[in-house]
Subunit: 307 residues, 2 copies
């Protein structure tokens, strides 16, 4: 097993200018695993209720995701309801029902404890710590978080930060976590708290990777149709971590490539509701969008300017 993810598996209801969906499959760990499954073996740890559709589990198993750490419990699955305006950058949360997630206490099967690559999806940092306590000696641990935990569980989050190698956050979260409005300073302040690398996700504007002395930027692919941004950040992280796990390398060149792979997966994710588009990809489609990113970002060096 290469890549372990713990996070939410949810049923989402989403309203966007392009339509409505109710109780569709969502959750950070679901998007992450589906995206990462194109690149590496994934094990998913999460909790679902009695009402979670078997077909969605079958889809994950079908793409090689190890669900031996998936707990099904009495009660309803975690639910999230959100709305997007024409500015698709920010979701307005209309309702959150923790349901079975309320008592979630992740227990890793023995086979998961040797995971080399670990992703702690956006859940209570206390739970993220509990997962970290159960893995033996991972090579690379990354985490996501959100304002709710930055404000509500700052101490536990500090402990998480001290133990991870990389953090994935968006602009606003980076600012809230660091107290810095400038994003370069915010990244530096976060790195001083522990993680050597920080990816800052900027929605339709792309993502920045801070790694050592290097900064790398990948734009979001300019699409004619953006249907539903839900899951884009987790698809990004899944592509990123899937690629790193597949390559087994942590040098800057691999991480830059991983940032583009993540951007490829996010760009597909937003083209449809729920997991519809991320589920139906192929190595060819991924390679094609990757090439589009190359054309989007390629330019020739300067000849000497003076003279």
């Amino acid at each position: 097993m290469s890549l372990l993810v713990v996070g939410s598996v949810a049923l989402d209801s989403v309203r966007s200018p392009f339509g409505d969906v109710t109780d569709v499959v969502g959750g950070s760990a679901t998007y992450f695993s589906t995206s990462a499954s194109y690149f590496t073996d994934v094990a998913l740890v999460a909790v679902i209720g009695e009402d979670f559709p078997q077909s969605a589990l079958d889809d994950l198993t079908g793409r090689g995701v190890d669900l031996s750490g998936m707990m099904r419990q009495a009660g309803r699955t975690f639910r999230w309801k959100g709305e997007y305006g024409f500015d698709l950058n920010e979701a307005k949360t209309l309702d959150t029902q923790l349901n079975v997630f309320e008592a979630f206490n992740p227990e890793l099967p023995a086979s998961h404890r040797q995971a080399e690559f670990v992703f702690l999806g956006n859940i209570d940092p206390t739970l993220q710590l509990r997962v970290l306590d159960q893995v033996d000696s991972p090579r690379f641990v990354a985490a996501d978080t959100m304002n709710f935990w930055i404000q509500g569980k700052p101490e536990a989050l500090r402990q998480v930060l001290a133990r991870i190698d990389m953090l994935f956050v968006n602009d606003a979260e980076a600012r809230a976590l660091s107290g810095e409005s400038n994003i370069v300073k915010a990244a530096a302040a976060i790195r001083a708290m522990g993680p050597k690398r920080v990816a800052i996700k900027r929605g339709e504007y792309g993502a920045l990777l801070f790694d050592g002395e290097e900064v790398f930027f990948a734009p979001a692919y300019p699409l004619e149709e953006v249907f539903d941004p839900t899951g884009a950040g987790d698809s990004f992280a899944g592509g990123f971590m899937g690629w790193v796990s597949r390559q087994g390398e942590l040098d800057n060149a691999t991480l830059c490539q991983a940032t583009v792979v993540g951007s490829v997966m996010a760009s597909y994710c937003v083209e449809r509701f729920s997991l519809e588009r991320v589920r139906e990809l192929t190595p060819d489609l991924i390679a094609r969008r990757f090439e589009q990113f190359q054309r989007l970002m390629r330019f020739s060096p300067l000849e000497p300017l003076a003279g």
Copy 2:
């Protein structure tokens, strides 16, 4: 003469979280010319009042800018007063005094009429048309505009669009001009009005170039200190047009390179108030920031994914 620019020359008062300045040199044509002067010969057509400082004219002349089309008239120079919050992306205009600009009627000296490259800065589209009527057969004409003209002079602006090769606008202007919220569709709609190329400026998020079937993206350089975004868009256009004029080529590779050169100039502009930073650059500093952009955007191709 290679590059002709007509636009505003102003005295700006700017308030930002990082300080206040009063009646400093500004204006679209001033930023544009200073930026372009590193790459090509520039001729500037504008109007100033009696109170415009001679030292600022001397600076322009000193960098080879042809001021034979600069009219000094009785009265006060055009003044703009603006404010930026911590979100430095958008200026709030506090006051505009047209002063001598009110009666501005651009008259090109004979030597300017053979200009090959022309930039129509953000002024009344009626004036932009009058300038176009006075140039013989330019190779490449680009223009900038703003919401004030999009709403106030839509007919004249349509005529401008039908006669230019490229438009520089920001996100909000592109949306207002096209009626499309999606930026890819907005660019397509604008190109259907005339200009074959569109550059969409996105402030701290960078710039998109639409050219034929190609899309190119350059991020804004992630800086630790952004002092004052005033003039960044005109410094971008100046770098872009200066580079194109220097190279004398209009192929996609040159335009992509020009987008990065423009981004280099904009990234320096915002580091200080007014023209302070853009004035003091050197070929070496420009080449160095260009290389930083290469590192910011460089990544390796994928090996085949399947297998």
